[in-house]
């Protein structure tokens, strides 16, 4: 079963793709050319990564003349941030069980 989490994780697991996404988060909207200049990979490779990011809803493209500008869609990350809350939830739950055990232990 593929969940929205799976798509986001798969999309961002690739370090080059993640770096592109981080740059868009940090620096705002940019063209493919500007991204390529500092990506360390070819322009077709950058375009391909951007297409995958777009598919996952993580970036939005805005054509302007012959250029396409890309921007990060931060709302798409909400499910990931929820996941860390789940981790905290795991430990809260264990604390409950630990307290329950302490009540049952001798002394």
């Amino acid at each position: 079963m593929t969940t929205p989490h799976d798509v986001l994780f798969r999309t961002l697991a690739d370090p080059t793709r993640r770096a592109l996404f981080e740059r868009l988060c940090r620096e705002g909207e940019q063209t493919v050319g500007a991204l390529t200049a500092r990506a360390g990979v070819s322009q077709p490779a950058v375009s391909k990564h951007l297409a995958v990011l777009k598919q996952a809803g993580l970036v939005l493209d805005r054509p302007e003349g012959r250029q396409t500008h890309y921007s990060a869609q931060l709302d798409a990350l909400a499910p990931l941030i929820d996941w860390t809350r789940q981790m905290a939830g795991f430990w809260e739950n264990r604390f409950d069980q630990l307290e329950d055990l302490l009540r049952r232990m001798d002394q």
């Binding site: 994780f9 798969r10 990931l80 996941w83 604390f95 329950d100 055990l101």
Partner: protein, 136 residues
């Protein structure tokens, strides 16, 4: 989002319990007691001891890092791509113990496949949360 700042994230759970540190310490360090609240295990309170925690959903590999009887305990926590250290701190209070658990250092290993990525992702979350906060 600098690379350095992206490397760690911590999950902290802290709670006051109405039992003395010595008793809490037993629950944290005796295998049959650990099994009751956390997972099945072959824990030993010895620095450098490797052990595993197991449940139906999988296993976590651990190694004891710190043992300070009745005060502090830490062990590495690695499994399903998650690389972290869990540190327990016990502080005596007038009514019992303040128990704090901090899990730090989720790291995404680039060689790992999807499953690893899912578990390693949180290292990036704190930065993302900062970005999201600024975006409001």
């Amino acid at each position: 989002m600098s690379t350095t700042a992206a490397e760690t994230l911590s999950v902290i759970v802290e709670r006051e319990v109405g039992f003395p540190p010595e008793k809490v310490w037993r629950a944290l360090t005796q295998p049959h007691l650990i099994a009751e609240w956390l997972m099945k295990n072959d824990f030993q309170p010895v620095v450098g001891h490797s052990f595993s925690l197991s449940a139906e959903w999988g296993a976590v590999d651990c190694r004891v890092e710190t043992v300070e009887a009745n005060r502090a305990l830490s062990y590495t926590w690695e499994g399903l791509g998650l690389e972290s250290v869990v540190t327990w701190t016990l502080t005596p209070t007038s009514t019992g113990t303040r128990l704090r658990m901090e899990q730090v250092g989720f790291r995404l290993d680039q060689q790992m496949a999807y499953r690893g990525a899912t578990a390693g992702w949180p290292r990036f979350f704190d930065n993302l949360e900062q970005v999201l906060a600024r975006a409001d």
